[in-house]
Each structure stands twice: as structure tokens, then as C-alpha cells.
């Protein structure tokens, strides 16, 4: 595909802990087009953040990528040297909006300097010019350029989140990974930040991978949705299809567990049991112990990824031709 930006193939990221090997990301594959927004959804501990960090090869120890490929314009980021990643990829091509903006900013530097830093280092701008661009970026995200001289602790949560977004845009990256960009923000501020992301995405035509546990937030932005469960993508497809006709029992249950603001008040559905321990996941389909439609084969064999509609994939034995 000509407009393909990122292709992830069989990505595996494991954590080598004292307890054993945690298979946090296990055989994850997907592709992302230029200018496309993909939502990566899943409950806590399903490996969605680890997937994000794996994309820029920055998995914190004791984790590391043990297999698979991450192709960005043909370059395999999973195989790239640290030096090359730093020079060619990080922030220039892929930048991040971190979860908890509070902690993503170094407390002892002004926010302006922190936004300018990658420009000075990567683009070789002089300080003056970089600061001019910082002011531009700050206005872009709807902040007063004067904020550049302030320290992080002098800003409110919403302002910090905007600063972090401005920082991510500093080098006009092709892809922004937004990891829970609105968690810990109040609904009103959250709506503003989501609007901002939407607006910027349209204006700058960048791709976004939006990682969140909240499917409602994904619905605000994403063209494509991938649902992760226990280190694997169980369903992946266009947002319209996933939200209206989810196929995987997990996706279906997840959507019916969300209380709605409008319409009839249906009784909420919950998924009994707890997600598996990723040190020793169950054989076969990882969801089978909690699945209402479990079959014999689910307990024995891992379901393959099946294309069930146009660009709609699901990993479930219900839809496999046997």
C-alpha cells in the first residue's frame, strides 16, 4: 500500500521479571496509514502501553523486544541501533504524548526549553529560532506563548497536557503516539484536549495511535480500532464497524459494560473472572476462561486472525472456517 506509514509484524515484547517471563505483547500485528488515527483499546495490564513503547524501541527494563518487526517506511525499528533510532526516528518521525503530563515534564526546566530541546538537538536550530517556534507551537495548542518561560509546576493539568502536545509536534512528526492523553483530566478539559487533538490531526495530517482504556475516547478520534486482550490484538478494524457490529465476544462485552448517557438504561454486562496472568497465560484462546461462547477448540488452540470484512480482522474460533 502506498500510503502505508507503519507496519507492525508479530511484535513480541517480554518482561524478564523474578516471577518469570511476562509476555506483555505477544504476536501483535497491524498497519497504519498516513494521516490515520488508530485507537488501541484494552483493560489495564493488557499490554497496550508496552506496545506503544515498543514502537519506538524504548521498553523500560526488564522488558525487551524479543521478536517481530516494526517497519516505518521500510526501516525496521525493532532492529535499529539505539544511535540510529535517536538520530532518525525518535521525535523526528515518531513522537509521544505521555500519560500523566504532570510527570512527563522535567520539573527544573522551563516548558519552553523542553519544547525547544528536540529542535535544538535534532534540527540544529539556534536557541533564539527554536524559542520562536516554541511560541508558534504554544499558540497552536491554544496556550499563551508567554507560558514558555514558566516551570511545569506553575501550570494547571490541562495546560501541561497542552504543553506536552506542543512538545510532541515540535518536529512535525509523521506519527504521534498518545498514551492515555486525557486520563486524570476533568471531563471539560478532556473534551477540550480531544478537540485539540482532532483539530491538529486534521490540520497537520499526521497519524495518531491513541492508547486508552476508554472506548468512548477512542470513538472521539479513531478511524481504526484495535482491541487488545492479554497481550494480543483480538479484533481490529474500522471504527464504524467495531462500535456498531463488534465480532469478538470480548469487544462485544466491553461495549455493553459502558454506561451510556442517552437512550434506554440497559442493564450493564460484565465479564466474569479476571484477566490471565501473563506469566502463564491459558493455552488456546486467552479469553476462553471468561468467554460466554467458549467451545472445545478455544481451550486447545490459539485462534488465527481472520479477515471477516473489509479491513476488519478478528481472532476468534467462532468465525474461523474449520
Amino acid at each position: 500500500m502506498a500510503d502505508e506509514l507503519l507496519r507492525v509484524e508479530n511484535l513480541k515484547t517480554y518482561f524478564y521479571t523474578l516471577r518469570g517471563v511476562v509476555k506483555a505483547v505477544d504476536n501483535v500485528s497491524f498497519t497504519l496509514r498516513k494521516g490515520e488515527v488508530m485507537g488501541l483499546a484494552g483493560e489495564s495490564g493488557c499490554g497496550k502501553s508496552t506496545t506503544a513503547y515498543s514502537l519506538i524501541n524504548l521498553v523500560p527494563p526488564p522488558g525487551r523486544i524479543v521478536g517481530g518487526h516494526v517497519y516505518l517506511d521500510g526501516m525496521d525499528l525493532a532492529q535499529m541501533s539505539e544511535h540510529e533510532l535517536r538520530r532518525k526516528v525518535r521525535w523526528k518521525r515518531i513522537s509521544m504524548v505521555f500519560q500523566g503530563a504532570m510527570n512527563a515534564l522535567t520539573p527544573v526546566y522551563t516548558v519552553g526549553y523542553q519544547i525547544a530541546e528536540p529542535m535544538i538537538y535534532h534540527a540544529g536550530m539556534d536557541k533564539q529560532k527554536a524559542m520562536e517556534r516554541v511560541e508558534e507551537l504554544l499558540s497552536l495548542v491554544g496556550l499563551d506563548p508567554g507560558i514558555a518561560k514558566r516551570y511545569p509546576h506553575e501550570l494547571s493539568g490541562g495546560q501541561k497536557q497542552r504543553v506536552v502536545i506542543a512538545m510532541a509536534l515540535a518536529l512535525n512528526p509523521d506519527l504521534v503516539i498518545a498514551d492515555e492523553p486525557t486520563t486524570a483530566l476533568d471531563v471539560v478539559v478532556q473534551a477540550q484536549i480531544l478537540n485539540l487533538l482532532k483539530e491538529l490531526q486534521r490540520k497537520l495530517k499526521m497519524s495518531i495511535i491513541l492508547i486508552t482504556h476508554d472506548l468512548s475516547i477512542i470513538a472521539e478520534l479513531a478511524d481504526k480500532v484495535a482491541v487488545m486482550y492479554a497481550g494480543k490484538i483480538v479484533e481490529w478494524g474500522p471504527a464504524d464497524v467495531i462500535f456498531t457490529e463488534p465480532k469478538h465476544p470480548y469487544t462485544q462485552a466491553l461495549l455493553r459494560a459502558i454506561p451510556r448517557l442517552r437512550g434506554p438504561i440497559d442493564k450493564l454486562i460484565w465479564i466474569p473472572g479476571t484477566p490471565p496472568d501473563l506469566v502463564a497465560p491459558p493455552p488456546g484462546c486467552r479469553f476462553y476462561p471468561r468467554c460466554t461462547k467458549v467451545m472445545d477448540i478455544c481451550r486447545r488452540e490459539e485462534p488465527p486472525m481472520i479477515e471477516i470484512g473489509k479491513e476488519h480482522y478478528v481472532s476468534c474460533w467462532l468465525y474461523a472456517k474449520r
Binding site: 488515527v37 483493560e43 489495564s44 494547571s156 490541562g158 476533568d186 471531563v187 471539560v188 478539559v189 478532556q190 473534551a191 477540550q192 480531544l194 478537540n195 482532532k198 483539530e199 482504556h213 476508554d214 472506548l215 468512548s216 475516547i217 477512542i218 470513538a219 472521539e220 478520534l221 479513531a222 478511524d223 471504527a239 464504524d240 467495531i242 462500535f243 456498531t244 462485552a253 466491553l254 461495549l255 459494560a257 459502558i258 454506561p259 451510556r260 448517557l261 442517552r262 438504561i265 442493564k267 450493564l268 454486562i269 460484565w270 465479564i271 466474569p272 479476571t274
Partner: protein
Amino acid sequence: MASISVEEEKFKLAAEMAADVILRVDNLKVWFPLRRSLTEVLKRMPPRYVRAVDGISFDIRRGETFCLVGESGCGKTTTGKAILRLVDIHSGRTFYRAKPETVEELAKTVPSAVHSDIVEVTAIPDKRLKPIRREMQMIYQDPFGSLNPRFKIKTILEEPLLIHKIGSTRDEREELIVKALESVRLVPPEDFMNRYPHQLSGGQRQRVAIARALILNPQLIVADEPVSMLDVSIRAEILDLMIELQKRQNLTYIFITHDLAVARYICDRIAVMYLGKIVELASGTELIEKPYHPYTKALIAAIPEPDPSNRLRMRVVPIKGEVPSAVNIPPGCRFHPRCVAFDEHKEALKDMCPVHEPPLVEVDKNHYAACWLYETFKKS
């Protein structure tokens, strides 16, 4: 003679309480004094306060779920804690219809706070609160923090029994603990009793917290964002459990949440708070479908929903600026600096909103809002 009239006056509010009202909150204020610097003390500057809760009144009926909704810092949690007397109250009173044995006990220790079956909770000194504590319990947002990490589940559940001297022998207490665990579907209880909180999942921990709150057989539960830290499916499960327990034990919930969708699902009535005040109060469906107050409107507009068509449009949130600090609350209507409606009707309202505080009035049947927009236009 005068003393009698004072006495009468004192319990007038209590006497007016309808039979099904279990709790009446009257003009409650919780102000946290700010630490004054030495220069401030020397210059005799008046103490400044964080006005976390700034004069709220409401009645709660037995068996209902009453929701307090608002953004962080609006005072909803403080209100809950003030009702339970967990924070110091600046002024205002709360009346509570207690169980007979509690009334009896308090009549002995603090007779001045008791009026027939109603207890003025705010009149009881800290040290005499114990009987009331048995009847009102709290469930917290953070299931990781609300359980002592060094206690086993058994010990955690035994604590309330020991404090209130319920169950004279260990076996008796253990029986009660087993029952409590069963009631929150932590079965078999033996599997959980000897575990530590860190050995449980978030949902299981929250169920332990619920079991602890229920083991004393309370009437009123203040649930402070009990599901907001949980994953979606666990959230649904806990909400369901709470509804089930409410039916079974005729519990009254004060349910504090920032999430209107959750509030709509579980609550009978919703009160929206902004900067320490209730700005709107109505039944759940009514409030969400027909909001009156501009703030409620903005809040509802801001809530994302799992509808994929949302991505195609910009979300219009009719509000501006940021929440001011609770130290410097704007004069008049505290919402007016952020109010879009005020901008629209500036001419008509310029003498009202920035100057006078709007009262909470009935704008529709059983639907209350504190906004000059309705008060003024109703009059004119």
C-alpha cells in the same frame, strides 16, 4: 422560657423532616483555613479559607441513591466526608434518622443532640460519634489505598467488629466475616480471608471494601467514586453488586462520581456541584435530558460516548476558562466568569450574576437549579 423556644427552634428543621427522609443537610459549609504566614499574622490579616463546601442543603430519602456529580475540586467528596464527620465542619447542620438502639445510646451520652428518632449529627462531639459511625459507612475510590496493606482480609474485616465490640468470640466474628464476604460474592470466603490486599485484583479489593462497609449493618453509605479507578467490565460488576446489596439491605447511598453516565445508571437523583455549591438537582434522567443550568449543560456536552460518528464533528462544550481556586470564589454567581449564557444575556443579567448569588429554586417539578437565568426570566 427563652430556652424552650431556642430548643424548639433548634429542632424545627428536624421536625419538618418527612418520614421517608433519612438525612437532612442544612446549609453545610466546610472551610479549610489556609496556613497563614508570620507576616499575615502580624499584619492581622483575616484568615483565608479554601471554601470546599460553601453552603449546601438537601434531603436524602431512605433507600434512594443520591448522586453528587462534579469536576475535581468541586467539593463533592468533602460533602460526603462532612456528612460522616470525617472533616471539620465550618457551619451548618445535618440531621439523621438513626436506628432505635443508636438513638437510645446517644440520648444517654449527648441528649441535646437527640430529638425523637432524629439525631443532629453535627451537634455530637467527636468522641461520642461512635454509635453514629456504626450506621454510616464510606467506600473509597482507591481500592489500593483504602485497605491496610499490612492486614490480612480477615483482619481488615474484623477491625470494625472489634471497634464496636460485635461478636464476643473469634468464631462469632469469623462467622460474620464469612457472611460479609459471601454477600459481596467473594466465594469461597476461606480463599480470601487469609490473603493480603496486594494478592487481590482491583475489583476484588473493592468488594472487600464494600464488605467492610456493610459488616456493621449500616443504613447510609457514602460511596466516593467507587468505580472510577476500575476497568470497564469490573466497573459494571461493582455497580451491579451495589444495586443488589441496596435492594437486599435497604441501603441509602450517597454516590459521588464525576461520570454522569455512571450517575444516570445508578442514581435516583443527581446533584451537580460547582465550586462548593449545588447548582442543579433533579432526577437522573430528567437532569441529563433536560439540563437547566449552563454548567450542567457544558458538563453533559463534554462527555464522550462510544459512538464512532463523534469523530467526524467537533464537540461543542459551552464553557470558557478554567475553574478558579476555591480560595478566591468569584462574587455573585460563582459560575458567571465561565458562563456562556451570561455572555449571551449580558445586558439583562449584568446586575444579577456578578453581584448576587442565585438561590436553588424549583425550575420544574422536582427539578432545582441555581441560576439567575430562570429566576430572573420567571419573574419578568
